[in-house]
Amino acid sequence: MQVDPSVVTAIAELAQLQLEEEDLQENIDSMSNILALVDQMQSVDTSAIEPMANPLDAVQTLRPDEVTEPDRREAFQSIAPATEAGFYLVPKVIE
């Protein structure tokens, strides 16, 4: 896959990463290298292999439906930048 500047810029935007103009080429190069490696791996025939969702060969243990967490709002909010009336405050997110 050809990595052009617009791909890197779009991914940076989706990830909310600020990418400086001078770092663009380096990112294009390293992303291209990663994809080249992926291409190489894709040349292996895996048609008989079941896709893996997790590297561990195990299945999820489920927990019973019980409330085990007490209200520790005060402790959690003591490390938040801004709170009010029990809410966490963030810069306004609506237009």
Partner: protein
């Protein structure tokens, strides 16, 4: 040109569990902001999600309820996006391997016919928190109590052709999840939220038009209005020679219109990938069968049985089977009094009327099914008339005791004794010679006057049928 609407719904059903899908925090509605948000829900570093077993039980029950295939191996994925009410920066959901695959439901259309709506899939995911934009002097307030609440997202096929069909489908899903105890179904608390995908095309065309998605509609009424608005809007756009933009919209009930959610949005790309913090969840056939064996009778089956077993009309059966507690109430009362038709009428008219007046749910009724059954039994065996029974019903409602206690205490037993009724009738005939003359001249209607007088004289306790016979007989003499 004649247009046809094509509608698909994504319904988010909040599962009725005590704790969250990936944490042991409470899901109780209406708590103080952030008092039910633990480190997992807050997305604090170093925490790991642990899956709640109950959400799988409920999802499987739903899947069986719509005749779906169950995903024996289901996998969680990350859906990545940034919003303050999603502190982790991703939502844990299921993309490729959901718990419920396929399935279908049958809806009743207003013209009495049935239509089958396909369900594409249903997957488990976590809810996000809630943002409050007022009252925080230019900031937004975030409440994460809802973050991590288990949701089952039910995705339909684009099988609906009108807002009415979409609402009928949504109502059926609502009824089903309540029947199965999958959800509490409290629409006002956000327990069911719909996204409507709407497109239009010239009637007869098989390819689909460009669709819009109207998000987060939380009532059936708004769903109907939002879809109708969107259909009309798209027709206007196309007839004006423009094209519909694939857009995400919000429905504003106050203005009764839809509007784009975000004005300038880069194409959404959620960059899904398998959730590395969770292993695949594997269930087996024995597990599925144990849930199947505990499934309650489903709405359609109950309606069929009510018509067959009790001889109820389809309308009565449908109303009584609308909610499981109501259906159970009806059956319990009918069994005691032995008259299903009588019980159906009383439940539909007297009981439902009283519940509506006091704004109560069937589960909060002041008259229990046993109490109603015992009351109706006394109509059945002619101890009291249907009219007196209404007074007794009110007395039971007010907590004055059982039907028998109230009938005894107030002396409400019907007078069925001919000897007792005879003299009363004689007196009334003697006092109303004019009416007697009219009756004898052939005015049958006057009979009602005499019966009314006797009922009044006996404070409604005489058996109307018997009074009718006695009055008739005596007038002919």
């Amino acid at each position: 040109m004649e247009w046809e609407a094509v509608i698909g719904l994504e319904i988010h059903v909040q599962l009725d569990t005590r704790s969250k899908i990936f944490s042991g925090a409470s899901t109780k509605f209406g708590a103080e902001p952030n008092s039910q948000a633990c480190p997992v829900d807050l997305g604090l570093p170093g925490v790991l999600p642990v899956v709640n077993a109950e959400v799988f039980k409920k999802a499987v029950a739903f899947g069986l309820g719509i005749g779906a295939e169950i995903g024996y191996r289901s996998v969680f994925d990350r859906k990545n996006y940034f919003y303050p009410d999603l502190p982790k920066g991703y939502q844990i959901t299921q993309l490729q391997f959901p718990i419920v695959l396929g399935g279908q439901v049958e809806i009743a259309l207003p013209d009495g016919t049935a239509k089958t709506i396909g369900v594409t899939r249903a997957h488990l995911e976590e809810d996000a928190g809630k943002s409050v934009h007022e009252d925080f002097h230019g900031m937004s307030g975030i409440d994460l109590n809802r973050a991590g609440t288990p949701l089952l997202e039910v995705v339909s096929e684009p099988d609906m052709r009108s807002a009415e069909e979409a609402v009928a489908y949504a109502k059926y899903i609502h009824q089903l999840v309540c029947y199965l105890d999958v959800s509490d179904g409290e629409m006002s608390q956000g327990s069911m939220r719909c996204d409507a995908n709407v497109s239009i095309r010239p009637k007869g065309q098989t390819t689909l038009g460009t669709r819009t998605e109207t998000k987060n509609v939380n009532s059936f009424r708004f769903l109907q209005r939002a879809i109708n608005f969107e259909i009309a809007r798209q027709i206007d756009v196309l007839e004006a020679g423009d094209s519909v933009l694939q857009d995400t919209l919000l429905y504003d009930p106050a203005l009764d219109q839809t509007r784009p959610m975000r004005s300038k949005e880069t194409a959404t790309d959620y960059r899904y990938f398998p959730e590395p913090d969770l292993l695949p969840v594997v269930i087996d056939a024995a597990y599925v069968e144990s849930i199947r064996s505990q499934l309650p009778e489903l709405p359609h089956a109950k309606v069929s049985r009510f018509t067959a077993q009790y001889g109820l009309s389809k309308v009565d059966a449908t109303i009584l089977a609308a909610e499981r507690p109501l259906a159970d109430y009806f059956e319990q009362a009918a069994e005691i009094c032995g008259d299903a038709t009588l019980t159906a009428n009383w439940v539909r008219v007297e009981l439902t009327g009283q519940l509506n007046r006091e704004n109560l749910a069937i589960t909060e009724s002041a008259v229990s099914a046993v109490q109603l059954g015992q009351l109706l039994l006394r109509i059945k065996d002619e101890t009291i008339s249907g009219k007196i029974a209404k007074d007794v019903f009110d007395a039971i409602w007010q907590g004055q005791g059982s039907a028998d206690e109230i009938i005894a205490a107030k002396g409400l037993q019907q007078i069925t004794n001919t000897v007792a009724i005879g003299p009363i009738v004689d007196e009334i005939i003697a006092n109303n010679p004019k009416q007697v003359e009219q009756f004898r001249a052939g005015r049958e209607k006057v009979l009602g006057f005499f019966i009314g007088q006797v009922m009044q004289a006996t404070e409604g306790k005489a058996n109307p049928k018997q009074v009718n016979e006695i009055v008739r007989e005596k007038l002919k003499q």
